[in-house]
């Protein structure tokens, strides 16, 4: 960008640096948890230990849904959500939309059934505003905590989403300003780090990782702020303008299949057959089912299929609930295909890397890790340029504590999750508690050890040890061992264990690696 004036570059550099410095620590937390949450489903499967049930959703679904829905009053049949948890149990949630007096918002109310898919036994029944209680509808407390921490930093709604939305905008601003102030973008993609631990070495590392992640940073910031702001700000504002404030009408226009109202009672067709047909037609697994107007002539069954091969987005198949007739695939938004719909469909796969299985998710984890490094290296660079001032030196220590402390705390929350499962305690309480407990071994060494290098080594040992121990703790607390997991086809359990062990030993090796001596700067830093 050679046509920019020095003043413009200086202004953008200031924006780049200060926005990163003020919000960098929170941004780092969102990026690290987001990088882990890319594999949220796999972590859920792994953390609940698996049950060996790998059969499809269609097998007993019709019998199970009928058993709990048909005895219910009419008002609960308006909408019924059906899905499978990571423990392979069935969740059936007949509900209606009503205002929650506590939150003042329209929310889903009804009885939520957790069922054994094989026997049809109701394992738990709760009634209320179900989505306010994660332990009612999720099997993995660890997945729930990590996703919640990423999505809203464990801050109550809507403020958590607004904070993460602002962080997304910060990431976009850092990406754009970084791109504009780059004077040698192509060269920087292949820059070699200058030796020693000089300022230029730190700058080289930051520039190298940032150059590869510039587009990715913009993409993640854009899609992330969309997911944060859409439900909290943009959607209500657009509903005001286009639908006179009626958000339900906007939701129906975008997401609900069109049907003429017909309240005549009609027996429901076999749901299992519809699920089988939907899976066979699309060629992918069923993720979620929604039954509208159960037992009426205008009943519609929406079946969402995971993205099939060579397609980025989920597929929404619609069936007539009474006849079981396949009515076709509806776009995720709107009733007909549109450019807006394509744009909307792209947001999730681009944010989560969820479009080509483990391969795309692994690429997203790699780039996410690079972005986390970019944030921390940028913060360190900012501090090193000001390290003669005590306040900035102390801020530098905070950066080190957070950079290592957050992953250590995430590891301790995973340990706490397994220990709670083994002792019969509530993992949905102990997992976040374990996260907070994990901060103690992170903050204390930061306060007690004055030199940075031994402090970082200690953190690497803590991280490495925590990773290596985690599979052992999982198995010791009742999780599947490798032989049983492989026998049951639960390869995710073994894969996550092996990844953790390899990562742990790499961190321990890194902690033992001799330090490279610092060399004097031969040239002034840029």
């Amino acid at each position: 960008m050679k046509n920019l004036s020095q003043i413009q570059i200086k202004r953008l550099t200031t924006v780049h640096g200060w926005s990163g410095t003020i919000l960098g620590v929170l941004l780092y937390a969102v990026i690290v948890t987001g990088t882990i949450a890319v594999f949220a489903h796999e972590i859920a499967d792994w953390s609940v230990g698996g049950t060996g049930k790998t059969d499809t959703l269609s097998a007993t679904i019709d019998r199970n849904v009928r058993a709990v829905v048909e005895p219910l009053p009419e008002k609960y049949r308006h909408s019924i959500g059906v899905w499978k948890t990571a423990r392979s149990e069935l969740i059936v949630f007949p509900h209606f939309h009503t205002r929650n007096p506590e939150t003042g918002k329209m929310e889903d109310y009804g009885p939520m059934f957790r069922m054994d898919r094989g026997t049809g036994e109701v394992l738990a029944r709760h009634e209320g505003f179900a989505f306010l209680n994660a332990d009612w509808y999720r099997a993995s407390a660890l997945e729930n905590f990590l996703v919640d921490l990423h999505v809203q930093l464990y801050i109550p709604e809507p403020w958590g989403l607004i904070v993460t939305g602002i962080l997304g905008l910060t990431m976009m601003a850092a990406g754009v300003s970084g791109l504009v102030i780059h004077r040698h973008l192509i060269r920087d993609l292949f820059v070699a780090e200058r030796s020693g631990e000089r300022l230029v070495s730190a700058r080289d590392r930051h520039v190298l990782a940032a150059s590869w992640g510039l587009v990715f940073a913009f993409l993640l910031g854009f899609t992330g702020s969309f997911f944060s702001f859409a439900p909290t700000i943009t959607f209500p504002l657009l509903a005001e303008v286009a639908f006179g404030g009626d958000q339900e009408a906007l939701e129906e226009t975008l997401y609900t299949p069109q049907v003429n109202e017909d309240a005549r009672p009609v027996p429901m067709a076999d749901l299992g057959q519809m699920v089988s047909r939907s899976s066979a037609t699309t060629g992918s697994n069923t993720g979620y089912i929604e039954i509208m107007n159960y037992g009426r002539a205008d009943s519609r069954i929406s079946i969402w299929q995971e993205p099939p091969a060579r397609q980025l987005s989920w597929v929404h198949n619609v069936f007539d609930g009474g006849s079981g007739e396949f009515l076709g695939a509806k776009p995720i938004v709107g009733q007909k295909p549109s450019i807006g719909g394509v744009l909307y469909d792209l947001m999730w796969p681009l944010h989560a890397g969820d479009f080509a299985g483990v391969l795309s998710k692994s690429v997203w984890v790699g780039l996410g890790s690079a972005m986390a490094f970019v944030v921390i290296s940028g913060l360190r660079l900012w501090v090193r340029r000001r390290e003669e001032q005590p306040l900035w030196r102390r801020f530098g220590r905070v950066i080190t504590i957070v950079a290592y402390g957050l992953p250590v705390a995430i590891l301790t929350c995973a340990h706490a999750n397994f220990l709670a499962l083994a002792t019969g305690a509530n993992p949905f309480w102990w997992t976040p508690a374990g996260f907070l407990i994990g901060f103690a071994p992170c903050i204390l060494p930061g306060l007690l050890i004055s030199d940075d290098e031994p402090l970082r080594r200690l953190y690497r040992y803590l991280l490495g040890g925590g990773c290596v121990l985690l599979p052992l703790i999982r198995m010791a607390t009742g999780g599947l061992d490798w032989r049983a997991a492989l026998h049951a086809g639960q390869t995710t359990v073994v894969s996550v264990d092996i990844t953790l062990i390899l990562l742990g030993f790499t961190l321990i090796w890194w902690a033992q690696r001799p330090r490279i001596a610092a060399k004097p700067d031969p040239a002034p830093a840029e």
């Binding site: 920019l4 202004r11 997304g168 905008l169 300003s177 969309f226 700000i233 009733q335 947001m347």
Partner: protein, 91 residues
């Protein structure tokens, strides 16, 4: 003193000004855009692209040398889009 004033003006334009203009522009799009064959494009485009509108305006304010021109642009967007939104909501 004059430099400080322009710094404050740029801060105000980059924060409140950009946010206001981006929000009003987003809210006016359902009225301005054609709904498309599925009759949702005028809703989905602003819903998805709202963060990009902010990023574009923010980058522009950072790069624009002439503060008066940037104030006119942001003010113009806000007034035009605000009028459209106002008419839609209250007419």
């Amino acid at each position: 003193m004059r430099r400080n004033n322009s710094l404050v003006a740029r801060w105000l334009l980059g924060s409140v000004g950009v946010l206001t203009a981006a929000l009003l522009f987003t809210m006016a799009l359902p009225v301005l855009l054609p709904p498309g064959p599925a009759e949702i494009d005028n809703i989905v485009w602003p819903l998805v692209l709202a963060p990009v509108f902010w990023a574009l305006l923010f980058t522009y304010i950072c790069l624009e040398e002439n503060l008066r021109r940037s104030a006119i642009l942001l003010g113009g967007i806000s007034v035009v889009c605000g009028t459209i939104v106002g008419f839609t909501l209250f007419a």
